[in-house]
Amino acid sequence: MSIKARATGALLAAILSTTAFHGAFAADDTIKVGILHSLSGTMAISETTLKDAMLMLIDEQNKKGGLLGKKLEAVVVDPASDWPLFAEKARELVSVNKVSAVFGCWTSVSRKSVLPVFEELNSILFYPVQYEGEESQRNVFYTGAAPNQQAIPAVDYLAENEGVERWVLAGTDYVYPRTTNKILEAYLISKGVKPEDIMINYTPFGHSDWQTIVSDIKKFGSAGKKTAVVSTINGDANVPFYKELGNQGVKAEDIPVVAFSVGEEELAGLDTTPLVGHLAAWNYFQSVENPSNAEFIKTWKAFTKNEKRVTNDPMEAHYIGFNMWLKAVEKAGTTDTDAVLDAMIGVSVPNLSGGLSTMMPNHHITKPVLIGEIQADGQFETVWETPGLVVGDEWSDFLADSKDLIADWRAPMSCGNFNVATGKCGGKGS
């Protein structure tokens, strides 16, 4: 063995021992919470806010005395909007930093890239964003909306209250809009809408020239039937889309647009006067009036030291997920993954829209669905809400290959894709 190799070996040993020591030290003194949100790159626009929200929640909890008599410590990493880096950073959080749970991811592709890591290292991920469903994993808790908690109630609202008969499904070209639109199309057809009354349109990420599409929508809308646009357009592309709608004079009274990815944050970069009346479907709006929400907004503005900062739905999802995790850890008396996974199911915590959200056996939660209209001040006003809470449905009933699947992570089933037709665990997604 050469000197060089020996030196390297010694160095490696040193690194390993410091890490081990660090881990042991942490286990005694604090409970670590991982935050896996992009702070740079394209997704930073949405995810940075969630990192701040998590830091605030952890800070608040520490003021209340922490968890199990220990302080909570946030470990923040930056996966830089780079999907493979998400997996690497997740591995780092779990195996190097020894975090007890991770709160993170935004896009579905980033979630898919970290799934094997959480499975292999047996840790816990809380995923706070509305998504396309068709998944239920043992180590993941989905605190955002499944399609039946956002898309389907929104379509019902338009059909019943606005009398919409013709539908434009417009989305950005990636997995969430494609799956959601597939579910919606099947749902609409099952409701008796004719295929020629549905127009589906996809655009690339960051599409900025909406002239042709907006005029296509106007054309489609002039067939004598009430028309609406269901938009799964993502992120940055929304601002030019809404600007074009406003400029071409598409009024909400004539052709309303209901969006699933436009929240208070997105509207903050926009003059909303020409958009008044267009809709969004979420499980939470900043404008919801109740004491816990008022308190949350106040804390948020104080924490960010910015009076103009807005709150949004994924932040509320983290609020719910974090409180559920706290409760489950207290119930289990440990942060040990298996114990917490068992304790999580059935945990109920108050959400910010007024009500209790419960973690269901399929690792999705119950939420109210709110439909809001955009106001001139960039906020939403709730015009409709579901009478009760809606249970997240992971496997859509409207897709042929998933309608027989259910997920139940309680023993003895403990399965994320149980096929009720064949009576076996395993199928799509396994």
């Binding site: 702070l39 740079s40 394209t42 930073a44 626009i45 940075t48 806010t49 209250n161 606005e162 070209d173 349109n201 996809y202 655009t203 690339p204 960051g206 599409h207 900025s208 020239d209 002239q211 042709t212 599409i213 005029s215 296509d216 106007k218 054309k219 809308g221 002039s222 067939a223 004598g224 039937k225 940055d236 601002v239 030019p240 600007k243 074009e244 406003g246 400029n247 071409q248 004079g249 909400a252 009274e253 004539d254 309303p256 944050e265 997105e266 903050a268 970069g269 926009l270 003059d271 020409p274 008044v276 009346g277 809709l279 209209e373 106001q375 001139a376 006003e381 015009v383």
Partner: protein, 543 residues
């Protein structure tokens, strides 16, 4: 006799007083009724309020117009203590109250003491129709025109009576024409006799446009057998017309997309085209220009709100200076050490682009910033069957102006002459006494400054976020390479060709496939003509 006279007089007086009192009472009662109806808007559900608004419209009393307008705007509030409904204006943390019917000031109230009368799309539609009917008789021709247009867009059988009355008394020919059309549209959806409907169909077809098409298609399903052929030929006729206009519309959209491409690429035509620097930080210069606009607008909003319409004019020179300065620093600090090493330049400028992005993200935050459109850049106007939006029109004009300015600078000024001399033959230029390093620096600064100006314009149609530049960098290179490196005219023609091509492909292939097709076509084109549309000839190419 006098007694009798007095008696008669008293009798007359009594009758007169009686009549007056009754009149006053009915008037008061009507006002009372209106007040109760308006107050009932507070606390009603959307469905109840729709009925309430329809009932209010039936009274035909123009006094309710301000209240309905306020409701539509979301400015109608109910006082929690006594259930009275007021129109409000924000005044600091309080609301100034205005009586909903008389328009008199009614004091101030804290926000918490008031509850908003909520409004949704359905309610807004009912209000719009109601206002159309109520303002038909307004003394102001502009208001009448608007009312007629509203009815034209939302025709209903109920408005026919009002329309007939309005038509009889209308003197303004422009308003009358719209009223005729609105009447025809309303007849079409009513249960009037077939003959009358036939005439109405002819008028609607003559009006043309999407709204008429929508109206006719809607009427087709429920129409009388004898009317069907008329409607069908009408639909065909309008569709043919629209088809013709659609081609024009595509060209317009193409020009507009082309102008955006031109703006994005024109700075790069200098730094990459003329100087040969593969400048990956070009997009970030555009982004810095957009952020300069944001900062200027922020200052104007906070300190001089009246000057908002001028914000873009003020931002233009500032953006040029800011990005020009950044470009100068970049050239002096990094790029000049890397001349002749394209790969290193590419990596270094890419690094700079990441640094600039993250710097902006740290300073301004990762979220979109709101850049407002001055009123002269909002909205659209109709030109025949074309919808022309103002912001797109101004951007086309602006991009051509920037192009002309640059062309003039390069071809007609001593500075431009020196720039061309240095890029064509550096050693010769140097021996003629031109300080080539400074010309390089200034040329790069000019290219960056032009990119900054483009950012001011693009802030009007796109997001202002740290990612703004990334969306344009690929397109910019595409335009410059396609047009021919080193040729400004090539950039112009290249940008508009790609814009129009894209917009003609998009309706058939969709936005995603359209873009791919354009890329494939460019690749094929570059195979055939490696130097682009307008290739430079001569020694400079060899160097």
């Amino acid at each position: 006799m006098p007694a009798r006279l007095i008696h008669r007089f008293l009798q007359c007086l009594l009758v007169a007083v009686c009549v007056m009192v009754t009149m006053l009472a009915t008037d008061l009662r009507a006002a009372d009724d209106l007040r109760t109806m308006v107050n009932a808007l507070g606390g009603g559900s959307f469905q109840e309020n729709q009925k309430q608004v329809e009932a209010l419209a039936k009274t035909g009393d123009p006094k309710i117009v301000p209240a309905l307008e306020a409701l539509s705007e979301g400015d109608l509030y109910q006082r929690k203590s006594d259930g009275m409904v007021f129109i409000v204006k924000p005044a600091g943390s309080n609301f100034k109250l205005v009586d909903a019917l008389t328009g008199d000031a009614a004091g101030e109230e804290a926000k918490a003491a008031l509850e908003k009368v909520k409004v949704n799309n359905g309610l807004r539609r009912v209000i719009r129709a109601a206002l159309g009917g109520l303002t038909l008789m307004s003394p102001d021709a502009g208001v009448r025109l608007q009312a007629a247009q509203t009815i034209l867009r939302t025709p209903s059988a109920d408005s026919l009576e009002g329309l007939d009355a309005a038509l009889a008394g209308e003197t303004d020919s422009a308003v009358k024409a719209v009223l005729e059309k609105a009447r025809a549209a309303s007849v079409l959806v009513s249960d009037r006799p077939v003959e009358e409907k036939k005439a109405a169909i002819a008028t609607v077809v003559e009006t043309g446009g999407r709204d008429s098409l929508s109206l006719l298609s809607g009427a087709l399903s429920s129409a009388d057998e004898s009317l069907r052929p008329d409607i069908e030929t009408g639909i065909q006729q309008i569709e043919d017309q629209l088809q013709l206009w659609a081609a024009g519309q595509n060209i317009w959209y193409g020009l507009s997309l082309g102008s955006v491409l031109l703006l994005a690429a024109i700075g790069l035509a200098i730094t990459f085209g003329v100087m040969g620097i593969i400048n990956m930080a070009h997009g970030e210069m555009v982004m810095l220009g957009a952020y300069t606009t944001f900062v200027v607008q922020e200052i104007i909003r906070n300190s001089y709100p009246d000057a908002f319409a001028w914000s873009l004019a003020i931002a233009l020179p500032l953006a040029f200076l800011v990005t020009g300065a950044v470009g100068l620093v970049m050239e002096r600090g990094i790029i000049r050490f890397l001349y002749g090493r394209p790969l290193e330049t590419l990596l270094a400028t890419w690094g700079v682009s990441l640094i600039l992005q993250q710097a902006v993200r740290s300073i301004f935050g990762p979220t979109n910033q709101e850049v407002g459109n001055p009123s002269w850049m909002s909205g659209a106007f109709e030109l025949g069957g074309l919808t022309v939006t103002w912001n797109r029109l101004w951007i086309i004009v602006f991009s051509l102006a920037v192009f002309a300015f640059l062309l003039f600078l390069l071809k007609k000024t001593p500075m431009g002459l020196q720039m061309r001399a240095v890029t064509q033959n550096r050693r010769m230029a140097s021996s003629m006494g031109i300080r080539t390093p400074w010309v390089d620096a200034l040329t790069f600064a000019l290219g960056s400054g032009i990119a900054g100006i483009a950012g001011v314009a693009l802030s009007q149609i796109d997001n202002v976020s740290p990612n703004l530049g990334q969306g344009y960098i690929i397109d910019s290179f595409m335009v410059v390479v396609f047009g021919g490196v080193g040729n400004l005219w090539g950039t112009l023609v290249g940008a508009f060709t790609l814009g129009i091509l894209n917009k003609f492909l998009e309706p058939y292939a969709g936005a995603v496939l359209g873009k791919i097709l354009v890329l494939v076509l460019i690749i094929l084109f570059i195979q055939k003509r490696p130097r682009g549309l307008f290739a430079l000839k001569g020694r400079a190419v060899e160097a």
